[in-house]
């Protein structure tokens, strides 16, 4: 695991965006070689990535991974609307290269299986970028989710429903209670995982994720067993970590920052 600690939210977004940009450029994508990106929401990343994109960098398959069941596609709080307004409309990705779980599908289990198959057919996810919840969940894999789970329908925890009520005028009855989500196992199969964590309210989850053991009550901890994990966080998110951990990783920043240096011209595609 690499733990990248930056001062604030904006710097986290910027660092992550540059990292993604470099990864895509190094991958050298083309019409026959797509870079597959997995994204549950991830607002910090999206805001900065849009300012870093050049017309050809992000034309890649993009997997939106969690979807509330029963929410109409054009509801302003739907994942589709969110991704359109915060990401897709700023880049020139083609719709046929975007795969989002459809919470309105007639047969939800088949929809989930089909999604898993699409990932396989695309050659797997190169980079999965996500955040974590205060309860340590990744995508909608809430506490108690199997660490080898696959894409499936999940019932949402009361906490999550209450947290989301603000998007539905505070009316709990309007908040979706179920969601489709990629499983922990699904994400573990990505070649690389990057988790963005900002804010003091996530600090305890970060502590549980990296300083305690692998535990299905804090599903992000599963990535301790992934060969290529990157956590990017701000100072506030480190508040529950040991001073020793923080110092250790801050001490490596001069090396880690090389990952986001602009690439030499010869490697850049236009």
């Amino acid at each position: 695991m690499k733990l990248i600690i930056l001062e604030q939210y904006d710097q986290v977004s910027e660092w992550a965006a540059k990292y993604v940009r470099n990864k895509i450029l190094l991958f050298n994508p083309g019409p026959e070689r797509y870079f597959t990106l997995g994204l549950p929401t991830g607002k910090p990343l999206l805001e900065q990535t849009t300012s870093y994109h050049t017309s050809s960098v992000i034309k890649r398959i993009c997997y939106g991974d969690d979807r509330a069941v029963g929410l109409p596609r054009d509801h302003p709080e739907s994942y589709h609307s969110f991704m359109w307004n915060n990401f897709f409309k700023y880049i020139d990705i083609r719709a046929e290269n975007v795969h989002i779980l459809d919470g309105n599908a007639a047969d939800l289990p088949s929809e989930c299986q089909a999604f898993e198959k699409k990932i396989q057919d695309a050659g797997g996810i190169e980079l999965f970028v996500g955040g974590i919840g205060p309860d340590g969940h990744i995508a909608f894999n809430e506490p108690g989710s199997s660490l080898v789970s696959r894409t499936r329908v999940k019932t949402l925890a009361m906490d999550t429903i209450q947290a989301n009520a603000r998007f539905f005028d505070g009316d709990l009855s309007k908040v979706p209670t179920m969601a489709l989500t990629v499983g922990v196992g699904t994400v573990m199969e990505a070649k690389e995982v990057m988790i963005l964590i900002t804010g003091g309210h996530k600090a305890f989850a970060l502590y549980k994720a990296i300083e305690e053991g692998v535990n299905h009550m804090w599903t992000v901890s599963a990535f301790q067993q992934h060969p290529q994990t990157l956590f990017v966080c701000d100072e506030d998110a480190t508040l529950e970590l040991r001073v020793k951990t923080v110092k250790y990783f801050k001490g490596m920043m001069h090396v880690h920052n090389k990952l986001v240096d602009p690439l030499p011209g010869s490697l850049k595609k236009n």
Partner: protein, 431 residues
């Protein structure tokens, strides 16, 4: 195919790198157009898996709905109220020229004229869509002849009329020859028999405007209750505001307007017809109702000198247009004292000082309104697009950049100087 064939084969244009006027602000968004209408890109992306055929880079400019002028008497030597061989050609000529001012739709206006003129001209001026050939004609604005003698302004006295006793629109049908292609009528509500006229015109979908009138506030309010919804060039050709009887001006803050309805008012913001302080009073009292109009006359676009307007002769000096007469100065009008560096000389001697329409262009009016009132750029732009569209009941189609509206657009810089005009998504003028 960038469009999903099952929905449409039409090409899609994406205006990029622009700030669009939407939800009363300037937003950094792209504008998508297909089939002459504004397209919802999210639906295009998810439902049709479509994308743009071509992108137009706006260079960071402001993209706003095209202007709508509901009071335009002519221009460039053409006077809509003077019968000619081919009135339709005259309207078409002006319609093409006003694209340069950002006007994409307008109401050709006829001032008080004898029935023969109406019978000749009206059938030739048809409602039609705009395009490369010129701005769209929304319908004719008939300003007169059912107006007040005392407030005739530059209208010829001998052709003024009253409604007679019969009630209903028959007197109008007689004078005008018909109401086809008519979108607005300006009349004086204090004239006997006006109530049934206002009511019937409104029911027929014709916008009724109050103007050239000495009506008091209650007469004006009654007319609004019968269906009147506009005030022709506020302050001009009506009784001045008085604190015990605000007259027509009082409609701006009247509490006797029927629920769900609004009174709009035209303002000629050329710096001459209305003192900027008066413009600000009106704007602050009722900002949502302000509709910018040019009331431009045939001399608009022409050099200084003498010209004919309807049955009258007028004289141009700088941005001022006066009724020409052969007596020395009659009653002075306060705003003759507006000192404007564009005036060649102050006009005292040779004619009257009754104002006679303006020669400012719509884009000049928008800029002047913004400067004089200190309002925001979106507000100034809406006064020339959204508000006239709302007045005419066409805001689901014109005057707005909402999805589904016609893509009649103007491109301009931050000073609201125009760079290009589009109708139905097609460029019809560029600087």
């Amino acid at each position: 195919m960038p469009s999903n064939g099952s929905v449409s084969d039409a090409p899609i244009t994406q205006f990029i790198n622009c700030r669009i006027l939407k939800e009363h602000t300037l937003q950094r968004e792209d504008l998508w157009v297909r089939d002459g209408r504004i397209l919802d890109p999210e639906k295009l992306f998810f439902d049709e898996q479509g994308y743009a055929d071509r992108q137009l880079d706006c260079g960071g400019a402001i993209l706003a709905p095209g202007f709508i002028d509901v009071q335009l008497n002519g221009g460039y030597g053409v006077d809509f109220s003077t019968p000619s061989e081919d009135p339709g050609a005259g309207v078409a000529f002006v319609a093409k020229k006003i694209l340069e001012h950002g006007v994409t739709s307008f109401c050709p206006t006829l001032v008080t004229s004898p029935p023969s003129v109406y019978h000749k001209v009206l059938p030739e001026v048809k409602v039609q869509s705009g395009g490369v050939h010129g701005a769209g004609v929304l319908g004719v604005h008939l300003e007169g002849p059912f107006i007040s003698l005392e407030k005739k302004g530059a209208h010829p006295e001998q052709f003024l009329r009253t409604f007679g006793g019969s009630g209903g629109v028959n007197p109008l049908l007689e004078v005008y020859g018909g109401l086809d292609n008519v979108s607005m009528v300006t009349l004086a509500p204090e004239l006997a028999g006006s109530q049934s006229v206002v009511e019937e015109l409104s029911q027929r979908g014709v916008t009724v405007s109050l103007g050239h009138s000495v009506a008091n506030l209650s007469q004006a309010e009654e007319a609004v209750q019968q269906g009147a919804s506009f005030i022709t060039h506020l302050f001009n050709a009506m009784l001045p505001f008085h604190h015990r009887d605000p007259g027509i001006v009082g409609l701006l803050t009247s509490n006797r307007i029927p629920a769900g309805r609004s009174v709009f008012y035209g303002m000629i913001a050329d710096g001459i017809h209305t003192n900027p302080a008066a413009l600000r009073i009106a704007h602050r009292a009722h900002p949502a109702g302000l509709v910018l109009v040019t009331d431009a006359i045939m001399a608009m676009g022409l050099p200084p000198g003498r010209h004919t307007l309807g049955q009258q002769v007028i004289e141009i000096q700088g941005l001022h247009a006066y009724v020409a007469g052969n007596t020395l100065t009659s009653s002075p009008v306060p705003n003759q004292l507006t000192f404007d560096s564009r005036i060649l000389n102050v006009f005292w001697g040779l004619g009257t000082t009754t104002l006679s329409g303006s020669i400012a262009t719509m884009d000049m009016c928008v800029r002047h309104f913004q400067q004089a009132s200190g309002c925001s750029v979106p507000e100034a732009l809406e006064a020339a697009s959204l508000h006239p569209a709302q007045l005419l009941g066409i805001s689901h189609q014109k005057g707005s950049l909402e999805y589904g509206c016609d893509a009649d657009l103007v491109l301009m810089d931050d000073q609201m100087v125009l760079e290009a005009t589009y109708i139905s998504g097609v460029e019809v003028w560029r600087k």
